[in-house]
Subunit: 217 residues, 2 copies
Amino acid sequence: MIRVVIADDQQLVRDGFSQILRSQPDIHVAADAADGRQLLDAVRRDPRIDVALVDIRMPVLDGLHATRELAAIPHAPAVIIVTTFDDDAYVLDAIASGARGFLLKRSSAHDLLSAVRTVAAGGAILSAEITGAVLDRVRSTGPVTRVDLAAHQLTARETDVLTLIGAGLNNDEIARNLHLSMSTVKTHVANVLAKTGSRDRVRAAILAIQAGLSPPP
Amino acid sequence: MIRVVIADDQQLVRDGFSQILRSQPDIHVAADAADGRQLLDAVRRDPRIDVALVDIRMPVLDGLHATRELAAIPHAPAVIIVTTFDDDAYVLDAIASGARGFLLKRSSAHDLLSAVRTVAAGGAILSAEITGAVLDRVRSTGPVTRVDLAAHQLTARETDVLTLIGAGLNNDEIARNLHLSMSTVKTHVANVLAKTGSRDRVRAAILAIQAGLSPPP
DNA sequence: GTTGGGCTGGTACCTGGGTACCTGGCTGAC
DNA sequence: GTCAGCCAGGTACCCAGGTACCAGCCCAAC
């Protein structure tokens, strides 16, 4: 049984979704919410909720912020953002917020049901209309061929240091971060530079980012 | 009328796809190909092809490389990768290569047809099963809110310098690259650091990458 | 048991990076 | 005309970063 909560500020929309979902034997509408705050309350009250259908535009707390806060809850449900607008920025923000689905309100009931079942099963789903924006985003982040860090044979400690270099820390900060002396840090840095063939820490930082060690936060 | 070319090394698969597509009045199978080279030939021969269904595993020239080469052709068709394997790396490579769709062979005929129509109309489509990998990728590239470089009010020259910092050049190299003296470069670097609030060039380099100035190539 | 490699730490030294402050030419706005 | 801002350049100084080399500890492999 898939337990769903519906969050939308419009009563009619909530009822419509509810109708569609209730028609299915394997889906149960556990709660509904008129804003993000109510959504969070509902999820905290009922730990068994699997899926949250969330509108972006809601009073008090909007869908994106609510999604972000949901992620902090231990038994957080999978979030499907359901909205009228296929604004690229919304889509990407939603994904960044942790949403596992993105559905346009103009989608069919069939799409809604399969989206709910897909994310409940651990999958992810996008409306066809917005897939393009996401693909563009993936393409724009450069080739997938990440730098093969393994080839450089870095030790665990050296990888730690390289990660922090990539985050922009100086030697002193790295030392304090890893509870080491400056000398030790310098030794590790020197080894990292030698092993990776980086001339200086700037090159190493770029490498760390390319390798996905230090994702630009 | 949507004109489609089918590229797959297995005769039966080609015939199967062909059957499905031919059943539709708005779709015409213009050609088929048993490998990437034949696919490229077919597209070059017939400039009116709209959509290419491409298998990844093909002899002579595989689907990914063929897709990349296709992109160089002026009237290039939209590419839908159709494969048995939902390997994440394949998906992301395919997207990076320029594919606008990614379909698993276990998808339904209905999915295939809607995928063809979607990409022919300029859209993009992913199989539900692989959407998750793509979303992870989007998430892993950090928040969508790229650093707003415009807010820092950098001058043209300062932007040049920041770009080269992000590429890992030292001051001397920047000077030679921009035909400037070291002193001038240092001045610009100092201004860039001040304006961007970066403590040192490492931070500035990270910023340049985040802002997309110096994309990790 | 000793040997090699990783981790930690130290000393000494040199250079590139970064700061501070100044000069001067050029251009466009007021 | 003069004023502001960008660009180019210079000098002087300090320090973080990087190099070189050494030593002790620990542990797993041989």
